[in-house]
Symmetry: C2
Subunit: 349 residues, 2 copies
């Protein structure tokens, strides 16, 4: 049976605040009745929306604050001035053990900076990363880092591999997730120095709790070749956004193609069941949510502009991560990894 | 009237050699009757295919060699052993002024290494780049660098901007092409150091022969927001491949959605005119070809696995670039740019 889990929601984050966060939480609660919530934000704005969702109201408590981090605030500013804000208090509820994960649709940079300060990086992690779920032709894969950091050393890339594998185990329920390093070519001679070094380190790590598959290229992510795709944050963020943009672009092509002639319009009408399936499959709200990995606590970032359906996906993600015991497992993996990497290096020298 | 232009084709390059290169050239000749060709490769293999295309045969001469650079050869190897190969001689025909551009479907790394050695970088260019045409909802844009180099300094990014703008002028016939810098966020605080520095330099360059529009994100490339998208080669290559992969993935979704139920199949049959338009629009062979920019001569890289239709697109591209006087204009832009950048820096200090 599912264990009770509490999520702390930044009710003021994103473009719409409580009007999206509260109905989103209500949707997720329908799917996961073991959930309860801490809603952090302006009670005067939360209460009227919450009143329309009595089932959610019964399983929520509100922490009142009118202090909000703006969407355009710089991370450094947010750190200085953000104490007591809805974002801050949601993360602090996780730190204090009152919540199992925090979810916010607020400013990404500010959320990451605060999460690092409040939750602190796990022992053995140099830099936390943001992991995204990426739809594939078979199911989904995990791509990280999608923008927490610019650049990554080979050591950091190896840590991403381990963090991504822990997340894949939690979400996909596979014991040894497959992992690939994103690169510009499949030949070992190609690519950046740090990517080649991470490749060498992961190849040696035969006892790691993951199945390393070597380099993969951008066109293979969506084919589902591996469970986890590792890349530094600049290229990872650009890849993610480019894929989103391409999907949108093809949606526009498709619409144009189906409305240009009478027969196409008629055909599209008859095939509307198929188009509905396609639309659902391509709906970006289905896989909304970037997970912050490598901290002593879980935090999920929702798209700022999403609606209740999209926010519910981010809440679902927070729940699944909290439910899976991801953090405990990752902590033990990190210990093992550091040990193994040490002994591997030793035995080969 | 179109001026006569000669292209040197590496007839042995790619997965198929003359069987794709020769029919591809024949297709392009139908579209551009002012073309003539130097076909470099094994005459015994070229002649029989050429005999089936009498119009092309009349406008071609063959340079015979049986020496071929392998698809998996390392660039350094190819440089050492590649002299006299079909790739080498095609580039050398450009150097000697016998051809206006070279087109090869061979090994990218080897082609770039040889092109640099034989054609040499233009004065004022630190590093040549590979530019790709990228389909957008409105038309096409140019993205560079898509893999010639890993990483780029701010100076190199500024040079890419200038090279891309010259190519946009040549292909899109706009006097001041719009240029964007690919970044992970639109706020000026974000992104890698060298991207921010290039941003500052381009913003100051009010007299540059381009219209700088600031940062753009991955999801905006396909929207056609700018004519030229500048990015370092690691992220650029990953973005390009990811977009290709996403298009393929959605094609698979679409096919599944349209074949799962009788009404959808019937609808898809009626709408086949629309689907044909879509298929053409998404056909990767339509925009095949990476252009090497920043050398004293033009070279176009075709996908290695493409067919005659795809190779013809790469030949078309070589022709259009050769016809446009791109190199002369770029050389003069580079002089102006260096001068302007100097005086801008001076006047602002």
């Amino acid at each position: 049976m599912a264990q009770p889990r509490t999520l702390a929601l930044d009710a003021m984050g994103g473009d719409h605040g409580p009007e999206v966060v509260v109905p989103g939480a209500a949707l997720s609660l329908e799917r996961h009745p073991a959930l309860s919530f801490i809603l952090v934000g302006d009670e005067a704005r939360i209460a009227p929306v919450l009143a329309a969702h009595p089932a959610l109201e019964k399983r929520s408590r509100v922490i009142h604050t009118t202090h909000v981090v703006a969407m355009n605030e710089k991370p450094s500013q947010a750190l200085r001035r953000g104490k007591g804000s809805s974002m801050w208090l949601a993360l602090d509820a996780v730190r204090k053990g009152e919540a199992h994960a925090a979810v916010s649709a607020g400013n990404t940079g500010a959320l990451m900076a605060m999460a690092k300060l409040i939750l602190r990086p796990m022992k053995g992690i140099e830099r936390p990363a943001i992991a995204a779920l990426w739809p594939t032709v078979t199911a989904e894969c995990i791509v990280l880092d999608v923008g927490a950091n610019i650049g990554a050393t080979s050591r950091q890339l190896s840590e991403y591999a381990l963090m991504g594998a822990a997340m894949a185990r939690a979400l996909f329920h596979v014991e040894r997730p497959t992992v690939g390093l994103l690169n510009v070519g499949v030949e070992e001679i190609k690519g950046a120095e740090e990517v080649r070094e991470a490749h060498a380190a992961l190849k040696k790590g035969v006892e790691l709790p993951l199945d390393y598959r070597g380099f993969i290229e951008g066109d293979e992510i969506g084919q589902g070749r591996v469970d986890v795709v590792v890349v530094e944050g600049f290229a990872g963020n650009i890849a993610l956004k480019t894929a989103e943009g391409t999907a949108k672009q093809i949606g526009q092509y498709l619409k144009d193609a189906m409305t240009r002639a009478f027969l196409s319009r008629l055909g599209a009408l008859l095939a509307r069941g198929g188009f509905r399936v396609l639309k659902e499959k391509m709906d970006p709200r289905r896989v909304n949510g970037g997970t912050f990995l490598g901290l002593n606590g879980l935090a999920v970032k929702s798209h700022g502009g999403t609606d209740a359906l999209g926010f519910a996906s981010a809440v679902d993600l927070g729940y699944e991560m909290a439910e899976s015991g991801l953090l405990e497992r990752l902590a033990s993996d990190l210990e093992t990894f550091h040990h193994r990497l040490g002994s591997d290096t030793h035995s080969s020298s």
